[in-house]
């Protein structure tokens, strides 16, 4: 139902590293699950509109003023402190090019 190449492609889209063994296992398991999902082809949905949100409350945009709230340096510090790599209060990342 799903080829090894497709599994590798999807893993790349998901930014998910998988070992060779995991790819094989994933291929078998996803195949079975996707086969089961075929069941969804049965019901006639030609006249049906999709539910977005949970379908309970009316779908409307909730607006608010775009106001920047200043957080205390302690809170900011607590948040940036959790970055695995940082410099001068900024998140540090590897070079995007190369």
């Amino acid at each position: 139902m799903i080829s090894k190449k497709e599994v590798e492609h999807v893993a790349k889209l998901a930014r998910l590293g998988l070992s060779e063994k995991e790819i094989e296992k994933m291929q078998a398991e996803l195949g079975l699950i996707l086969d089961y999902f075929e069941l969804l082809k049965e019901p006639d949905i030609s006249q049906v509109s999709p539910t977005f949100g949970a379908g309970i409350a009316p779908l409307e945009n909730i607006m608010r003023e775009d106001i920047v709230k200043k957080e205390s340096p302690q809170t900011v510090g607590k948040i940036t402190a959790q970055a695995p790599a940082k410099e001068k209060g900024h998140f540090k990342v590897k070079g995007v090019f190369g």
Binding site: I2, E6, V7, V10, A11, L13, A14, R15, L16, G17, L18, S19, E22, M26, E29, L30, L32, I33, L34, Y36, F37, L39, L40, K41, E42, P43, I45, V48, S49, P50, T51, F52, G53, A54, G55, I56, A57, I62, R64, T75, K78, I79, Q82, A83, P84, A85, F91, K92, V93, K94, G95, V96, G98
Partner: protein
């Protein structure tokens, strides 16, 4: 002191009447955790010091003669995907192993506002993905009725802790049954509120159009007390709704209430013992004067694939934020990694098997060429499922079903067969797809094959069964009403 069987009202009354102090109560629960939790495995972390400080505050307040709120001094467990400020919040995942919550979730702010005592964080399936708590990256939680069985999931720790008197009540989250099914397996009460009734701010997101936080408690009354504290519109969650003022008070009588029994929920695959317990309960409610009607929810068989496509799609987007840059486990310090490697390796090392599987399924369902065949189609089938319930609720006031087709299964029984594990959710996922409120109420026990090694517990051999009571949107108060009546009958 011994804490066995205490409800919120028991403790509240005891505190107000000065039969015992909050400190004594909290120490009692901490002792219980100390003596039992090595075996049970319900808690990931216990906040002994903070709990005692909070208890002391409540005692001081009582000493001063203040009127205390109903949850003041009540010991609670919190599922580890709900943020408690300055405490670790891991979602039972290695990727968040050392993550410290920088703020309180809205529900936690509300509990703290009442003076509730947060005893610690409870175990769960990683990112709430699973139905047995076996997907926790850290530990196994056992079913209090039989240590060889699962407590259900994903809020397995929260349910097992309440059932074992390790806390008085707890919070869980329910995306496809994750409050109701463990409540059913552990013989406690669990409520999945209407979508929008409770703020999701500070809940680690799994599937945003399905997730709701709700209470797990010993009695329906307790679940109601907790729900009344945590519900309500929150500016920080734009999907939350103000609803209380529009809803009339529920009738306190069973007579004349119409209860629908969907035939699709009583077919093949339903354990005969579970069926018997649920049907006997329905008969008792009928004897009280309720009108029982067979109804049909014809789209039921599509609920599982519909749910798993939507839930995994939303999860794949929500979990994209764990990339090893802002917080959490990271591969960034590896000298040979480039930026893409950091993403790939961080996620490979940080996520467990089930989470990886769901990210893959969701990414596949949303990817170019498949969006219409999977995600959009599922959202349309979701509309059909929702309409099933809308039609049913024109005829009946409540829908009664089993929570799970079987009682608690054995540890290891389904963990290597993902599809088999997904099928366990058959009676719970539709409620999330339709956004409805539903209560899991313990209504009896079934006898299961006695375990030969299980000689140390008198209750081995009997497992709890839960009844699911589904109601109209935002009619939680009516569900509590019928729940309390049913609770007395069984």
């Amino acid at each position: 002191m011994e804490t066995k069987g205490f409800t919120i009202s028991d403790i509240h009354r005891g505190l107000v009447e000065k039969e015992f102090s909050a400190t004594e109560i909290v120490k009692g629960y901490l002792n219980k955790i100390e003596s039992l939790d090595k075996k049970l495995g319900a808690f990931l972390e216990v906040f002994q010091e903070d709990a005692l400080i909070q208890a002391k505050k409540v005692d001081d307040s009582i000493f001063r003669g203040d009127k205390i709120p109903v949850l003041a001094g009540i010991p609670a467990g919190v599922k580890d995907n709900i943020l408690v400020k300055d405490k670790k919040c891991t979602a039972a995942s290695k990727i968040l192993e050392n993550y410290l919550a920088p703020y309180d979730a809205t529900v936690i702010e509300k509990l703290k506002g009442q003076g509730a005592v947060i005893l610690g964080k409870t175990n769960m399936d990683e990112f709430a993905m699973g139905g047995s708590t076996e997907n926790s990256a850290f530990k196994l939680t056992r079913n209090p009725y039989d240590f060889k069985r699962v407590p259900g999931g994903s809020s397995g720790g929260s349910a097992a802790a309440v059932a074992s008197d390790e806390c008085c009540f707890s919070l869980g989250s329910d995306t496809g049954g994750s409050i109701r099914q463990p409540a059913s397996f552990c013989g406690v009460v669990g409520l999945k509120p209407t979508y929008g009734a409770v703020s999701r701010y500070g809940l680690i997101a799994f599937a945003s159009s399905l997730d709701q936080i709700g209470p797990i408690a010993k009695t329906v009354e307790d679940a109601e007390i907790v729900f009344d504290v945590i519900e309500g519109k929150d500016p920080k969650d734009s999907t939350s709704v103000e609803f209380k003022s529009q809803i009339p008070n529920p009738k306190s009588q069973v007579k004349g209430l119409r209860i629908g029994i969907p035939k699709e929920y009583f077919g093949e695959g339903l354990d005969s013992g579970v069926r018997k317990v649920v049907e006997e309960t329905i008969e008792k409610v009928e004897k009280e004067g309720a009108k029982i009607e067979e109804i049909s929810l014809p789209q039921t068989k599509y609920a599982i694939p519909c749910y798993y496509i939507i839930a995994t799609s939303e999860a794949s987007a929500n979990l994209a934020r764990y990339e090893g840059i802002k917080y959490g486990r990271s591969n960034i310090k590896c000298q040979t990694s480039n930026l893409l490697d950091v993403y790939l390796k961080t996620r490979e090392e940080g996520f467990g098997d089930e989470v990886k599987r769901r990210i893959m399924l969701g990414t596949y369902a949303l990817s170019a060429g498949y969006y219409e065949a999977y995600y959009l189609r599922a959202q349309k089938v979701r509309t059909l499922i929702r309409k099933d319930f809308e039609r049913a609720f024109q005829k009946v006031d409540f829908i009664f079903t089993p929570v799970s087709p079987t009682p608690a299964f054995k540890i290891g029984e389904k963990i290597n067969d993902p599809l088999k594990m997904y099928l366990v959710d058959i009676f719970t996922v539709s409620v999330n797809l339709a956004g409805l409120p539903a209560l899991s109420l313990p209504v009896g026990k079934v006898e299961v094959e006695k375990d030969k090694a299980g000689k140390n517990s008198a209750s081995v051999g009997w497992l709890p069964v839960g009844l699911q009571i589904i109601g109209r949107p935002f009619r939680e108060s009516e569900i509590f009403q019928i729940g309390k009546i049913t609770e007395k009958l069984v």
